[in-house]
């Protein structure tokens, strides 16, 4: 295996590849930080250009965009409570509260360190155990998926905020909203209320942008002119508030590593993506942290753990495509397409036929992770300056950007209408104490859970016992029950503490 290490490095390490990785990360950061635009658009856009490049250069460019894009969504999430990408929506919660407290610089730094750890963790995982991890991921079939998602849904309890039944209502509403549209297993359209365009379901990105970004803008306009959030004081007066001390970061490390593991696992399974892993790890952190009451109100841990998770999912989502030839996410599919076009077939044989290329790919990944780290600091500085602009200029710009960014995905006016409607819904929800993350998690997980259930029953010939016959499924079901139990205990504990 290591015989290819040196040739791989030499293949990778040339000026062309290095410049394209840098270009990729740069583009990725720009795409990621604009609300509505994401890495997938960037990657799809440059795909035709990659046809005329060498495979290693093409991969460098695509990887750079991917990693840059996934990280950069956190920047506006922290500074403005407007996620630049769906996977950053969980980061916005604590990140923005930190900014309001004048500690935005701290939050941004926590985010970038956590992202680096997440990236490198799953890069190494990919390099070392990709094949084994893929085998493990294959064992997750419909019954296991159902149990896993059930477990993930109990997590909603952890993010439902003060009122549990309101959180549950938000979750149920999310499940309902997700069942609008064509059902996978039966092929019929449900709840479209006669609007044909809804038969594809409520599009996720406009919904998310509406619930988080547009509702935030509405909330911002509530404040009187002159009074305002402390955007100007992002870095506060004291240096201490803008820098991140080791003593503050170190306690978060257990959460970070747990989030890395969650992110990598979710990434390796085809299907749920970075957004799911960010929310699930956020909720797990809330569950298991030593200071659960601080999560959600502005804690470093609450910023670091979703960011570690979503960046860990980044490289991990390439595992199914590299080891099995099956893309687990749209971006992995584009990267696979780019490889195929160059005559390289992703799949189990790739390690034998193109070992040198794979090694240069690994180096490219690690390099991209570090470049994101370096460019990220520059991005942070620029972003901090950018949000110092007076609110009456900044917010119209952000508002329009949200619209343009969302429109850029599918060029559909309906997306904008849905975004605005969910902006109103999100605004009302936030005012009334209903948890928006609960809605979003349920929306994300619901459909897959339903189809997993039906698929399991089909496989099991209609017997519910199939769930009991599969050890991994049983394990997740037990976890789900335990999680619900611990959740109840946590809530009671918090109640006695007065939260």
């Amino acid at each position: 295996m290591f015989s290819e290490l040196v040739p791989g490095f030499l293949l990778f390490f040339n000026l062309l590849n290095l410049s394209f990785i840098s270009l990729g990360v740069f583009l990725g950061i720009i795409f990621g930080s604009i609300p509505g635009l994401n890495a997938i658009i960037g990657v799809a856009l440059v795909l035709p250009f990659t046809f005329y490049m060498e495979p290693d250069t093409a991969i460098c460019l695509l990887l750079g965009i991917y990693k840059g894009g996934v990280y950069a969504g956190s920047i506006p999430a922290i500074l403005l409570n407007i996620p630049g990408a769906p996977e950053a929506a969980a980061t916005a919660q604590d990140g923005y509260n930190l900014t309001k407290a004048g500690k935005g610089g701290k939050a941004l730094r926590a985010s970038i360190y956590a992202s680096l750890i997440g990236n490198v963790f799953s890069d190494i995982l990919l390099i070392v155990v990709a094949a084994q991890l893929a085998k493990l991921a294959l064992k997750v079939g419909p019954p296991e998926m159902f149990a896993l998602l059930l477990f993930a849904l109990t997590i909603i309890g952890a993010v439902s905020g003060a009122n549990f039944s309101k959180g549950l209502i938000a979750g149920i509403a999310g499940l309902f909203a997700a069942s609008i549209g064509m059902d996978v297993v039966t092929g019929v359209s449900r709840f479209t209320f006669g609007i044909f365009e809804l038969s594809g379901g409520i599009p996720f990105l406009p919904m998310l942008m509406g619930m988080f970004a547009i509702s935030e803008i509405f909330i911002q306009t509530e404040q009187k002119i002159g009074e305002g959030i402390q955007i100007h004081k992002v870095s506060s007066e004291t240096k201490a508030d803008s820098k991140l001390k080791w003593e503050e970061f170190a306690p978060c490390l257990p959460s970070i590593f747990r989030s890395c593991a969650v992110g990598a696992l979710i990434g390796a399974i085809p299907g749920p993506g970075a957004t799911t892993s960010a929310f699930v790890s956020y909720a797990l952190t809330r569950q298991f942290s030593k200071n659960p009451e601080k999560i959600g109100t502005g804690s470093i841990e609450g910023v670091a753990s979703p960011d570690a998770a979503n960046n860990a999912t980044c490289s991990a989502s390439l595992i199914p495509v590299l080891t099995l030839g099956i893309p687990g996410s749209p971006i992995a599919a584009v990267i696979a397409g780019a490889l195929l076009i160059h005559g390289i077939n992703p799949g189990p044989m790739i390690f034998e036929n193109n070992a040198t290329l794979i090694y240069s790919f690994y180096f490219g990944m690690l390099f991209a992770s570090f470049l994101v780290f370096i460019f990220g600091f520059i991005a942070i500085r620029t972003a901090i300056k950018a949000v110092q602009i007076s609110r009456s200029i900044l917010f119209p710009i952000v508002f329009i950007l949200c619209f343009i960014g969302t429109y850029a995905n599918n060029s559909r006016g309906l997306d904008l209408i849905i975004m605005t409607l969910f902006g109103i819904v999100g605004y009302l929800m936030r005012k009334s104490g209903f948890s928006v993350p609960a809605f979003v998690i349920a929306f994300l997980l619901g459909p897959t859970m339903e189809s997993a259930f039906k698929q399991s029953l089909l496989i099991g010939d209609g017997e519910l016992s199939i769930f009991i016959h599969r050890p991994i499924a049983v394990a997740f079901l037990v976890l789900a029950i335990l999680s619900a139990y611990f959740l109840k205990r946590q809530r009671d504990r918090l109640k006695t503490l007065g939260f």
Binding site: I169, S179, R190, S392, P396, Y407, G413, T420, S432, E450
Partner: protein, 146 residues
Amino acid sequence: MSKRSWDIIIGCLVTLFAVINFIAISFQEWAGGTGPGFMKPEYFPSIILVVMAILGLTLVFSAIFSNSYISDIKPISPRVMFTIAVAIAYAFFFEVFSFFITTTITTFILAFSLGERRPVSLIMLPFSLTVFLYFSTRFGLKIFLP
């Protein structure tokens, strides 16, 4: 309005929504090959709607009997309603009128409502933003705005 009454209203609305949809879905005819009971398209949604109705009622009752309501809800200020109206109008007219017109007007209105009074900025911002966005999306992203 107090938080309590607002919660009660929401609870009732949620239950009503669930019940109406449940009735609607029970009478729905589905085309296509169906299979055993769990495969029917309305199986899962029915469960969801039933739980939703129960939760709505739970909310109503806990709102009536709870002691932990302290403050009132801030009413929706006219400025927010105005912004919402602007957002809705922008979303609807985005594809109807040209991008230039809608975006320029919206940016102008928003900046003004958020307190911007410097005439130079008020005029320059909409135009420069609109032009910049149009050309960067057209040539950078190859997206055609209306």
